[in-house]
Symmetry: D2
Subunit: 143 residues, 4 copies
Amino acid sequence: MNKNLEIIRKKFESDNYAVSLGVALDELTEDTIRMRMRLRDDMLNWAGRPHGGAIYALADVAFSVLGNNTNNMSVALDCSITYHESPDPGTMLVVLGQTLSETRRTAAFLFKVYMEKEGDLTLVATMKSLVYRTGKPIDPDAG
Amino acid sequence: MNKNLEIIRKKFESDNYAVSLGVALDELTEDTIRMRMRLRDDMLNWAGRPHGGAIYALADVAFSVLGNNTNNMSVALDCSITYHESPDPGTMLVVLGQTLSETRRTAAFLFKVYMEKEGDLTLVATMKSLVYRTGKPIDPDAG
Amino acid sequence: MNKNLEIIRKKFESDNYAVSLGVALDELTEDTIRMRMRLRDDMLNWAGRPHGGAIYALADVAFSVLGNNTNNMSVALDCSITYHESPDPGTMLVVLGQTLSETRRTAAFLFKVYMEKEGDLTLVATMKSLVYRTGKPIDPDAG
Amino acid sequence: MNKNLEIIRKKFESDNYAVSLGVALDELTEDTIRMRMRLRDDMLNWAGRPHGGAIYALADVAFSVLGNNTNNMSVALDCSITYHESPDPGTMLVVLGQTLSETRRTAAFLFKVYMEKEGDLTLVATMKSLVYRTGKPIDPDAG
């Protein structure tokens, strides 16, 4: 068992923003993550479609967890998101993330957000993200 | 008076996501926007800091309004955000946006998000965004 | 045989910039591309390392070809590139590209640039790109 | 006089890639830069238009100089470029860059590329960029 994964899994439970959005963590490994979020009515924009900010929010929550799974406090530097298609209100969004590269002080990640509908996954957005690793432990007592 | 600005101003009032975040529209012109949002406790991440997704949300709400101020239904293609500094919980965020360029079918925008504290503005994030203009009127009865 | 692929393959031969950089097209399909370029001395920066602009150039040449492989004149809207590692001077760079999504008027692509060294591929950069499709044929006589 | 600016000015003279592109440095301060480059025939793409990679190259050369003007060896992490308009072959491109933010280990910059034609500047591209500062001096003998 990887202690560092347990540390961020535990921390994630107290993430107010993720809780308020209803984001659930399905799977976390050393270099991948899978999360999901139901698109609620309070996430719709003025056109009655799921807001780009809500789609981004799911990817960003996944980024925050995957980017902090080495017990090394990391801060977001940059995210670039492309929107491929507008998901339907009320559907479930699923995000799959993976680590692209790591150096001592920075790391890059790729996230794909899908709409899940009748068992099919449709690509909704792709996000490329960067963190800076501060070098401070998230849990000073671990290890 | 610019009718197109009134159309999107009115629409914005029924933006569920913006309402749930508490975003207020201060100013909208043909090529600029100013909005603000108080950083609430439900916008904090597991480290107790304002979530990157909440900062993005404010910029994205401004993008949605500025990008749709020509009575031409526009959809987000891409957003790239750089985080400069972590704002303090409880402070007010202010976003200033401007149009960079427009063609018949696409438009580009730049947004700067600031933390307002004791009268000073500190740069928190910069976002560069693109829309595709569908050519359909937001309000078919206007003009 | 796909006529549209032949049209852009042929056009690519007269791409001055690609010729001056020495970019070679290895493979082009309806949704993937593979190209390569040797890192020459005239591509080094002041620190004696391959210039970021040269690495981008290879990815961008691939983008220009893959983004125009449907006989629909397409123009670049946006590219976002992350640099993972500095490749060694004199080595061969290989770029692999794939189409992420397409609508009638826009399309998104992902490119990964690798350094090839002693048979191994090391990830050097990742680029996410967007085109706008003008709707004009590249070869009006085709089809 | 700022010694750090002199260090990178001097280094820039031996930048092979910048020399091969014909990039000239007009002005460099602690937080701004101005450079220019003539769009040559060998920078055209298969459609006979200036290649996106050549436009990026100018912005990236400016990034490399402005990002290294503190005698702190810095490496590119990420660049995001939006293309607003296709410049005319043979015209002069001008890039204006500014520092957006700096921390001890990272810095962010914004670059605007213009086409200069009959005395007018037309916005061609906007680039947002990030460096990681290694902490190693560019000139160990300075200071």
